[in-house]
Assembly symmetry: C2
Homo-oligomer: 500 residues x 2
């Protein structure tokens, strides 16, 4: 085949994938937001059928042949990167036998079903055999795919290209040694921050009105975005100029929807602000979850939890809820939304305790792949670590090892990217502060100065660079977890009145 | 091929069509309700691509071969009907050369673009050449498809199986002779019904709350349905248990959204109440537009505009709008929503004048296919007929011959089904009244008695029967337009205080 033929084939294949991808992600968004319950059987059948079609397109042997051919051509750095990303996503298909993949997928589906039941029934024994089988699959697959690599590194690289256990160790060692003691110290001074007023009655209708104010303040525009409601908030980048988010209203927690929106809008801007030339290509779609999470957490925590950010919005919230918040000062509200408290559930954890939840999962995964974990008692290991790092007693496995969906699908190596996303944020903040008076911009209502900075220094590049490269590009320095650790220590020691 | 092989192929082909159909109709609903504007270019490209895939599946030569084989087998009446319906929809593909179809589609797209511009600019000259070309195509296609049939009958049959111009003549002769004079008579007594209060300011937010009350009163359940907002209201039957409707709020017309909802819920029940065994087959999807329109108009006009229907809902509307409606009695409101007045635009016409708008289009279409129309002056013909039957002067072609989209895509033969749908309704009403005290059911809030009756006598059968057969099945009599004419005359002579 000629280069011309290969490029033409690739272009058509990409367009086809794009077309299917768009309708499938539209259907997914619809399903999670508005689709009526009684239609689910017919809908699931149709979506499963179409997923099969998409899989056949994506794993078309001719496409793999073309990509392998193009990967050896000099197409310019950007195009070569694009081809490399497309190939990366086919690593499994290229290295494994079809029967193995089918067997894995079947086990995975059975595992998911039993995980749901096990979680509901707090019955780890129901899920354990699946987990062990999936661990077996994963070890075999890693050995087949990259016999030269440490198996856990294979999966860490899958979720965050270029990252290894050695990299993560440097980061998580600090999380363990510096943040865990701080969490224990703060646990002794819970009375210093009152957040009880966040948990009065906050009717959904008024929260929905406030949600519109939030979107407006953030510059999340109806021209290229839409916000719906779903059980769990998420972002769906249907295309660069069609980015959907969702929120959920908790009538017993007025800050939940506020920060879910700021978080998802962070994802949304990344989807929207990728360069036009990259839109709809692997340089857009294959942004790693850690990179994506860095942008959502940046807006949520580093910007959204600043007092200057709340200054504009909080008076509106008080107007919607005069009885609940009329007598609560801006300062008290700001302290409340930054309260920290060791807890059981990762997805509900605050900014400070969150990385410890991830540390626990990281250590367990690492020991599984190293072969040092006692596979018969992973739930016990889980509980011991919660006690050790967070001081929390796990009452049952439903809120312990069964709480997250990830392992039910063998997504080992995924969790660490969540913490990494947070960690990059502190380094980006440090860089942004050199260019921009963030508080002044927020107080002037110029939120776009923040999102413009993120676009210029980070978001426009999409998946053009790996995480490590992107950090250097945006901040001029290699990734340094000290920014994160220092930020958290300073913020929380101040908030809780502890010695610096 | 064996019967077994053919049936297996057919089953798989149906499932594939169903799967694609579901995601495409989900994407369509999304596009018309929430999709952000800036994403339209990428979205249109993707949807066009997928439409091509769907077209290829639907017109798969192997499928046609299988259907033609099965059509000759004795598969039981229902299955044979299903196969016949599937073949009906492929009539064009089977009879015409691919080049002709492509040429027609290209002309059709160009025509649609110019029609949009022409309507906006009130410039019939821009659209006329397209219309004449499409007429040419249609005449040639009809002659090729069914050389033995009158060409207009070919298209009348396409939209309403079994109906011919001879059938429609009997109906429209009555519309012309009986209803047109009544419209002129009522035009002299406009002062007898005051509907000015419907056109005060009615903020959307409260209309939206009232819309929820309407859905509830009608039994349009969130379990199997969903109501969104779009520019023009429509119903989208994604599956039997996933039926989407939309409404639109006009702040200057409080009855617009009320009756749009009742209308669309009529369509929705038909989609939802088809027999389980028919769901997702041609017996469900190929319900004719006239049959469908009969159910939406039945709820809208024959039920929704009754005083007993308004008795339950109107007090709630008054609560939402005490300033606008506090002093308007139920009787005055009921009279207002039934007011009749000759007007220019079909889609805004009331129950009485509506069939005259259709009569005009029917007569023009018939004369086009008979060859008696002066094709150089169709707009003048249009204006003359509006003057003659409705007494209305057409100020420009934008609100005249260019008002409807149908002819821009050569959908000749479609319009008459709208009037037919209304006409069946009166006959269904007559039959329903024998079994049910409708006003008593409405006053007790038992709306389900009406929809249950419709299910039992009409809706469960889907497309199992033709329009003519379905009317006999539901009412025990052949279609008789006198029910409709008599109903309108009695209703409107009473409302406007004219001699009976």
């Amino acid at each position: 085949m000629t280069r011309e033929e290969a490029l033409t084939f690739y272009k058509n294949w990409q367009e086809k994938k794009e077309a299917y991808g768009l309708v499938m992600s539209t259907a997914y968004y619809d399903q999670e937001t508005i689709a009526p319950q009684a239609g689910s059987a017919v809908r699931n059948k149709a979506l499963a059928y179409l997923s099969g079609e998409v899989y056949d397109i994506e794993t078309d042997p001719k496409a793999i042949e073309v990509l392998e051919f193009l990967a050896k051509e000099d197409l310019g750095e950007e195009k070569n990167r694009e081809i490399a990303l497309a190939l990366r996503s086919l690593d499994n298909v290229r290295a494994l036998d079809k029967e193995e993949v089918v067997a894995f997928n079947e086990e995975s589906m059975a595992s998911f079903d039993d995980w749901q039941k096990a979680k509901h029934e707090k019955d780890y024994a129901r899920f354990e055999p699946h987990l062990l089988k999936l661990i077996g699959f994963s070890k075999r697959f890693a050995a087949k795919r990259h016999p030269d690599m440490d198996p856990y590194d294979v999966y860490l690289d899958d979720y965050e290209e270029g990252m290894t256990a050695a990299d993560y160790d440097r980061f998580f060692d600090l999380v363990r040694s510096e943040l865990s003691p701080l969490v224990f110290e703060i646990a002794q001074h819970q009375d210093r921050v009152d957040d009880s007023f966040l948990h009065l009655d906050y009717p959904k209708e008024k929260q929905a009105k406030f949600a519109e104010d939030i979107c407006k303040a953030l510059g999340f525009s109806r021209d290229w975005g839409y916000m719906g409601i779903s059980e769990h908030p998420f972002t769906n980048g249907i295309s660069k100029n069609d980015v959907r988010i969702t929120t959920a209203y908790d009538e017993k927690d007025v800050s939940a929807s506020l920060y879910s929106i700021v978080h998802e809008v962070g994802h949304a801007f990344f989807e929207h602000q990728v360069k036009d030339e990259f839109a709809g290509t692997p340089l857009h779609h294959m942004i790693s979850s850690g990179m994506h999470e860095s942008q959502s957490r940046f807006l949520e925590n580093y910007i959204g939890r600043r007092k200057a950010f709340l200054k504009g919005l909080y008076p509106k919230l008080q107007e919607y809820f005069p009885e609940q918040l009329g007598n609560v000062s801006l300062d008290a509200f700001w302290r409340a939304v930054n309260a920290s408290r060791p807890s059981l559930i990762r997805t509900q954890a605050d900014e400070l305790t969150y990385p410890l939840h991830i540390l626990i999962r990281y250590e367990i995964e690492k020991s599984i792949f190293k072969g040092t974990a006692d596979l018969e008692h992973l739930n016990t290991l889980w509980n011991e670590k919660y006690k050790e790092y967070l001081g929390v007693d796990v009452p049952d496995d439903g809120v312990g090892i069964l709480q997250d969906v990830h392992w039910s699908g063998a997504s080992f190596g995924y969790f660490p990217t969540y913490a990494l996303g947070s960690a990059i944020g502190a380094q980006l903040l440090h860089a942004m502060e050199k260019d921009l008076d963030i508080d002044a911009a927020l107080e002037k209502g110029e939120f776009f100065r923040i999102t413009d900075w993120l676009k210029e220094h980070f978001q426009q590049y999409g998946a053009r660079y790996t995480f490590k490269e992107a950090v250097v590009k945006a901040t001029g320095e290699e990734f340094d977890p000290h920014y994160y650790i220092d930020y958290l220590k300073k913020k929380y020691r101040t908030l809780y009145g502890l010695d610096q």
